[in-house]
């Protein structure tokens, strides 16, 4: 705990969080709770915000950049690679991605590479290339270089599923200080708490940041079924088997020919 209290200010300093920021971010989310029902086909949330001078100390700068990072509840996934063995394709090698976001959206007003340099992006973990995606390598857990084939495949597959995305056009400045960001929530998102991190950049450096949150809950019959299958496996199985027997019996009664 003592060590933590010593390192925390250092970490904050390293992140470039200046204690006396000249600007302040005020953000508001259109909806803090997304209810996923059986007919849910995805939804776009809207984040509105303004950049305000802090107690009138400094005049506002000419141009700002904004990066919104939305992180879903963590999960552990395994990425597998097929290779040809004796003429057939077999999963040979695999890597486990430990405690990585189940959903990750990096939304900005222009491509993150143009907003700040690589070092800053890496330090602040901005963008899919620079976010920490720890893999289990032997006994160690570490992130690899960004062009590691497993890491690249992991990000590519998650992007295909619509769970990871990076967009340099999702944030729009309505006036030089008022912005809106569209946060897409696809149908296959995990339930839980989502953290929203909003970072304001000017001249290639972070000026200030703020956070918000949203919650995804699943409701309705499908969710009830999924929860029952996970939490009461045996009972669920017995009910599924009973359902099969009833359907079968019903079929024999309805179509009885003798």
């Amino acid at each position: 705990m003592r060590r933590l209290s010593l390192t925390l200010p250092l970490v904050l300093l390293a992140c470039g969080l200046k204690p006396a920021a000249a600007e302040r971010l005020v953000v508001s989310l259109s909806n803090h709770r997304v209810a996923v029902t059986s007919s849910f086909i995805g939804e776009d949330l809207v984040l509105f915000g303004t950049i305000e001078p802090d107690a009138g100390k400094t005049a506002l700068r000419a141009a700002y950049d904004l990066v919104v990072t939305v992180t879903g509840p963590p999960e552990t996934l395994r990425t597998r690679r097929k290779e040809r063995v004796l003429g057939i394709w077999v999963n040979i090698d695999s890597r486990e991605f430990v405690h990585v976001p189940s959903y990750l959206a990096v939304l900005s007003n222009r491509p993150v590479a143009q907003i700040a340099n690589r070092d800053i992006l890496r330090r602040l973990q901005v963008g899919l290339d620079d976010i920490l995606l720890p893999q289990r390598i032997g006994l160690d857990i570490a992130d690899t270089v960004r062009d590691d084939s497993f890491r690249a495949a992991f990000v590519r597959l998650q992007t295909q599923y619509g769970l990871y995305r990076q967009s340099g056009t999702a944030v729009t400045f309505l006036t030089p200080t008022v912005f809106r960001a569209a946060i897409p929530v696809p149908a296959n998102v995990a339930t839980g708490n989502y953290a929203i991190d909003v970072k304001l950049f000017a001249d290639g450096a972070m000026v200030t940041r703020t956070t918000s949150a949203l919650e995804v809950i699943k409701t309705g019959f499908e969710q009830y079924v999924a929860e029952a299958a996970r939490d009461y496996g045996l009972l669920y199985g017995l009910i599924a088997a009973l359902m099969a027997l009833i359907t079968g019996w019903f079929g024999s009664v309805v179509f009885r020919r003798d």
Binding site: R80, S94, G233, L234, G248, S252
Partner: protein, 307 residues
């Protein structure tokens, strides 16, 4: 109309799945089989993961075989003692299959194992069925009786100990091959998501000399119990049974089977066997192609756990 499958975790068109249930049900009714060997591959081809497909189809087959078993029960075309004997080993086979299924899934080799099992089993069984029915066809053309072996003839299986008499089927046979067959069907069914009717019926006829009067009914009882227990075991250990998917398949399957059975009655036995053989063989080849051709994406993801 799209419906979200809670366990398979993807939206599907309800009419597509219902249509698949009807089509497979039609074929299963026509040939007197469960149709799992067709349904599981179809589900895999529309994007449902092999693990969920195998687990969910088991409950679908339980439903269709229960319908069949009731019909045969009414006709008194069941050999209950023989079915119980097969079952005692079938349950052990199913439990072993579910255990192996879980182990293979943990080391990421389940999909491969399902594919390989389909290729070997279906191509061999399909080829044998085509060969046998063609030979019978040629024999009938020449004016000879279609039966290949006389029902009374003995094989080495009749020399084994622990002999039991099954009155309804009028056979006197050792318990060892009965148990072995029960175990194999239970095991293969749990791994591949098939009821095993297309394997069990020939096995009972060729090895145990069970007469045609009781063979299908008895096979359906075994299929029913192994598949119902596979459903419970898959749900309890792997949480992979998609009840919504299974229900749609069941409804389609039970209806389709009725129409299939009527069509099947109007066809000659040998012709039916040839058609079934060709179907089985084709599904086997499809899986062989899948294994041999380079996949579009060499990488795939599997969720280990969510925290």
């Amino acid at each position: 109309m799209q419906i979200y499958l809670p366990i398979a975790d993807l939206p599907v068109n309800i009419f597509l799945v219902l249509g698949m249930g009807l089509a497979v049900g039609f074929i299963s009714g026509m040939f007197g089989i469960g149709g799992g060997f067709l349904m599981t591959p179809l589900l895999i081809f529309i994007g449902i993961s092999p693990a969920v497909a195998v687990a969910s189809v088991s409950s679908h087959i339980a439903a269709s075989s229960f319908t069949g078993a009731i019909t045969y029960w009414r006709k008194r075309a069941l050999d209950i003692p023989l079915a119980l004997m097969l079952l005692s080993a079938g349950i052990v086979g199913t439990a072993t299959g579910v255990w192996l299924f879980t182990e293979l899934r943990a080391v990421d080799q389940l999909d491969l194992m399902i594919g390989l099992s389909y290729v070997t089993l279906l191509t061999i069984v399909g080829a044998v069925m085509i060969y046998e029915s063609l030979r019978a066809e040629i024999r009938t053309r020449k004016g000879k009786p279609a039966t290949l072996r006389r029902p009374g003839s003995h094989t080495w299986l009749h020399g084994l100990p622990f002999k039991l008499r099954f009155k309804r089927s009028k056979i006197y046979i050792s318990a060892i091959p009965v148990w072995a067959i029960g175990f194999i069907i239970g095991f293969v069914g749990a791994i591949m998501g098939i009821g095993g009717g297309f394997l069990l019926v020939p096995m009972l006829i060729y090895f145990l000399r069970v007469p045609t009067a009781t063979v299908i009914g008895t096979s359906m009882v075994l299929t029913l119990v192994t598949m119902a227990s596979a459903t419970v075991m898959h749900a309890a250990t792997n949480h992979l049974v998609d009840a919504v998917l299974a229900l749609i398949l069941m409804v389609g399957g039970v209806i389709g089977a009725q129409f299939g059975a009527r069509t099947g009655q109007n066809m000659r036995g040998e012709r039916l066997r040839l058609l079934l053989g060709l179907l089985v063989f084709a599904v086997g080849l499809r899986f062989a192609y899948e294994l041999g051709v380079k996949p579009d994406d060499l990488f795939s993801l599997r969720r280990v756990r969510s925290e």
